[in-house]
Symmetry: C2
Subunit: 596 residues, 2 copies
């Protein structure tokens, strides 16, 4: 099997780090304990490993194709999508009242990781449908919910996000697509949207486009953007399909990776106007789109974890099989499998530590989201929502940036074979490269982290997390053991660095915005590095307590946490130095535009 | 123009950092001063920019093709190669007695950078020919030199390196290709070689393969390997071409990048044996091949600098043109070119600092090579040869690894457009990925750095370099200026980190080989980071002295050195921490093969 979901690792994170037991105690999740999680994960692993993973290479070699406005998915994809729909996989985390399974996000999260690890291109289609469902559930009218959501949850229809235009990428203030009211409550849309993932395809009966556009006389900038439902086929009141809407795919892109996933240019209104239905109120579109974007950003973070894990699995398999050179310590006279060479071990340990750390942080974030949505206690809901929102840009930015390094190391472990496309390691390297770009580049995530997530509350949520790290540090220091002392030392240094930077951001943002924003991506990187390292330390504490139950498994947890602490965390201090000095003349980037 | 060679920057490095004046004083280089350098660089820049750069995309879209054993180069390549030959570009650094131009390596080096920046795939063909020339000049008989070298220098023929076999990659001890003596002084070769760059093509009249093989009863391992000349067409005594030799290209690879460069599988002796001529003595093949490899390794390091610079140029052009979002400091009411946004500036500054630092280190290494080969003083020759040899694995490993980051940032600066192949940024990301793999992976370079270059002399050469850094530090500290204080502080911390690691390597290699070799790539990274940072600091000192002559140019040199010091050098301490702690239980990688 080309992908075996790491179920045991995932369940460890669910149970020991993300506190599955608390989630299962929330109202509505009474049946969602660790046994349910295990059953769901095993079934998901089987489907992803057997059905989707083998199609991954196929889709890379035979990208989706465009002809006369129609897009045909890669061979096997439509059939696999039918199996996905039949399995009810789209509905895992969505409410039962709209025919979803109503499971916690914490259980859906490993399923989504598996989906993406097995086939990033395929998984993008449900990923965007999830976003559309969340946006409709939050901002749609009751009629809109009844008409669209059950069909999206079943997988009969799929959803898309239409934001980007040629002149409006990161800057949505520049959106120009027009929406003209028709007097009957509907609108007609005119414009061009680009980079629309799964914007056209033949895997589902309808495509529900959620589209940002401007109504006549709307204010300039982001405060004049509204959100519309523009279905590919109009939907009759009884839910049956009506006529073809005036939205057409005029081309798809030729991309570096995720080639099976069609990236569409959509033309709205070339034949009289695309019929659109306003979601919520006019001029509040961006607000609603942010619901969808936050869901999608978290999921893209999982894509980073997923492709990193797949690359890791492949590299380990190769390293165990490829025989080359004698050991440097003279322990064998013959060439050995390269997994015994120190630098290969270093690369694999690095891949593993980065992947496990990012996974743990993402799953913990999912648990905060569950509490935020389901706790009976209003204050707890608000607190956990704030933590979740702080973590989303970090999960997105950190997990995707680290996936670039991990997939690159995956190629390196394969040596010359890694550069040959047939080997397959290169596909992960190509596929991963979009992750720090779409759904908001890392810089956009970092702006969000600085602006909405740190400055707005004066660093309160960040300081709350730092206090939690202190509790972990106290537990680490209770161990009289060199390994735990090393973990504590480096985690503490990382914690201090993060604290220093949060303080810097809060104090300097107004006086010195250019310095703070030049340090925003390094701040995000620092936060990802330290918060993931914290999760690894927590894992080590649990593993130590349980070590006699399964020495190989828990021993590996401790060793990976230790590697993370000693080999990755020391860079936290360097990041702090570089960020904080940005506010001084000698730390600033003293190059004019013309000097570049 | 898609590539404009940075002539002014290159001349700055030649003159101010690599001490062109000293090189021009060496016997035989009397005409090779800065004026000659400038004239050669300008002519090279014209040829590379006008002829080779436009073919780069063309070669990516239309890779070289194989049919019935024949390989056709990408469209336009054969004609461009004729122009390359007519321009005498193959001969720049080779001796006049074999019809080369006899210029210093220091002048050839920027020319080779330009060649690679304009077209990495194309440049690989001359790169390997250079290696074949060096090997023949050092180890070939006078007859062999007369027969092959002038035709290789003119570019009439090209050269290849045949090392790798399916079971023998990094581990050449496993080479199996057989060479059977025929009694007439010739041999017949039988075997399969893979990953042979430009191993077959239609751009030149003959291809001179240098091939590693075993003679009957040769000792096992690397001490039983001999080196042979196996020309594609046998060569008559008068230099005319004879019959086709029994070496055939059975396929070429489908690769992630450098697609125009054919990577051949060569079959030797399927039709009775490929005629080969022994170079030097039997069983000394690896020694001779190392001559070729060292030349090629240095040149691959330049490839890293080259592709990084090309990616930087493209990213800067896009950032100046793409308008998106208002400035964070409120300095404009409208969206501005993205080069004005702090994070874009950070990415571009990082790309620039990494590229300039690696370039300076490589050029300085080239100057050491010139002194090593041309000084009248035997002791100077030996000293500079030792420094050059210490620097080669660093130039190779560091420049190529940093090119991965720089080309990745190049994609990121382009946002979504970076992921679309037509944009062109993705090609550099794909092309660069081979650089840390071929001609010895980064781990192989790091083993060389630890074993032959640090342990063998007890760290003496490294300590000599550290003393030179001290001299630079003294000069920096003479400036009463915050910028220079910052550069001094971070360079000094980096210098201490490097000193600590050299000491660690020397003391621990015997007692704790696994720890030292697990830290070997980080040691190489640390050496590259600090030694390049040292060159940047030297550049800042010169720029400060000359600042009134050209404020924009010298100001940018100081700003780039400062960025390097504040944003890159602080990671030196983290690398030291991780390397040095590897020797303790809590720093080791405590995972068994089965635990990965």
């Amino acid at each position: 099997m080309s992908y075996a979901a790491p179920i045991k690792d995932m369940l460890f994170v669910l149970e020991e780090l993300a506190d599955m037991a608390t989630i299962a105690n929330l109202p509505g999740f009474e049946d969602a304990g660790i046994d349910t999680a295990q059953a769901v994960l095993e079934e998901s692993a089987r489907f992803c490993g057997e059905v989707l993973a083998p199609l991954n290479v196929e889709g890379d070699r035979n990208p989706s194709t465009w002809k006369d406005g129609a897009v045909t998915a890669s061979p096997g994809f439509a059939q696999a999508f039918r199996q996905f729909v039949e399995g009810g996989w789209q509905g895992v985390q969505h409410p039962t009242e709209y025919e979803g399974q109503g499971l916690p996000k914490l259980i859906a999260t490993p399923c989504i990781e598996m989906l993406n690890a097995s086939n990033l291109s395929f998984a993008l289609c449900p990923l965007l449908t999830d976003g559309a469902i969340e946006a409709l559930l939050t901002a749609g009218s009751e009629t809109q919910k009844q008409l669209y959501v059950p069909k999206l949850i079943s997988g009969e229809w799929t959803g898309t996000m239409n934001l980007t235009e040629p002149q409006a990428g990161s800057d949505l203030a520049l959106v120009r697509t027009r929406a003209e009211p028709q007097g009957d409550g509907t609108y007609r849309l005119f414009g061009t949207k680009i980079f629309i993932t799964w914007g056209e395809h033949d895997m589902a009966g309808n495509i529900v486009h959620l589209v940002l556009a401007r109504t006549p006389n709307a204010p300039e900038g982001v405060k004049g953007i509204s959100l519309f439902i523009v279905p590919k086929f109009l939907v009759n009141e009884d839910g049956t399909l009506g006529e073809r809407n005036d939205v057409h795919c005029v081309s798809i892109e030729h991309k570096l990776g995720i080639k099976a996933s069609p990236t569409a240019v959509l033309q709205f209104g070339d034949h009289g106007g695309a019929t659109g239905y306003l979601i919520g109120e006019e001029n509040h579109g961006l607000e609603y789109m942010f619901i969808m974007m936050n869901a999608a950003r978290f999921a893209v973070g999982l894509q980073g974890v997923a492709v990193a894990d797949r690359a890791y699995q492949k590299a380990v398999a190769y390293a165990k099989e490829r025989v080359q050179s004698r050991p440097v310590d003279g322990s064998a006279k013959q060439a050995v499998a390269i997994i015994h060479h120190p630098d290969v071990r270093r690369m694999l340990a690095r891949m593993r530590a980065l992947t496990e750390g990012a996974r743990a942080l993402a799953y913990v974030a999912a648990a905060h989201s569950d509490i935020a949505h389901h706790s009976a206690d209003e204050r707890a809901r608000a607190e956990h929502q704030a933590i979740y929102e702080y973590l989303v840009p970090i999960v997105k930015g950190w997990s995707t940036e680290m996936s670039l390094e991990v997939t690159s190391l995956g190629v390196q472990v394969h040596g010359g074979m890694g550069f040959i496309e047939e080997t397959g390691a290169a596909q992960y390297y190509r596929d991963a490269r979009i992750l720090p770009i779409y759904e908001g580049t890392t810089a956009i995530q970092a702006n969000d982290l600085v602006g909405r997530k740190t400055l707005r509350d004066g660093g309160a949520v960040a300081q709350g997390l730092l206090r939690e790290i202190d509790a972990t540090l106290a537990a680490l220091k209770a161990h009289d053991d060199a390994t735990f002392r090393a973990i504590a030392t480096h985690l503490e240094a990382g914690r201090q660095a993060l604290a220093g930077v949060v303080d810097f951001v809060v104090k300097q943002a107004k006086v010195n915005p250019n310095a703070v924003f030049a340090g925003s991506v390094p701040y995000l990187e620092l936060a990802g590095l330290v918060l993931s390292g914290w999760q690894m330390a927590r894992a080590a504490l649990v593993a130590h307590a349980k070590r006699d139950e399964d020495r190989a498994f828990y021993g590996a947890k401790i060793a990976t946490a230790q590697f993370y602490a000693v080999h990755l965390l020391p860079h936290a201090v360097a990041l702090q130095t570089s960020i904080v000095s940005g506010a001084s003349a000698e730390g600033a980037i003293n190059l004019d535009a013309e000097q570049f």
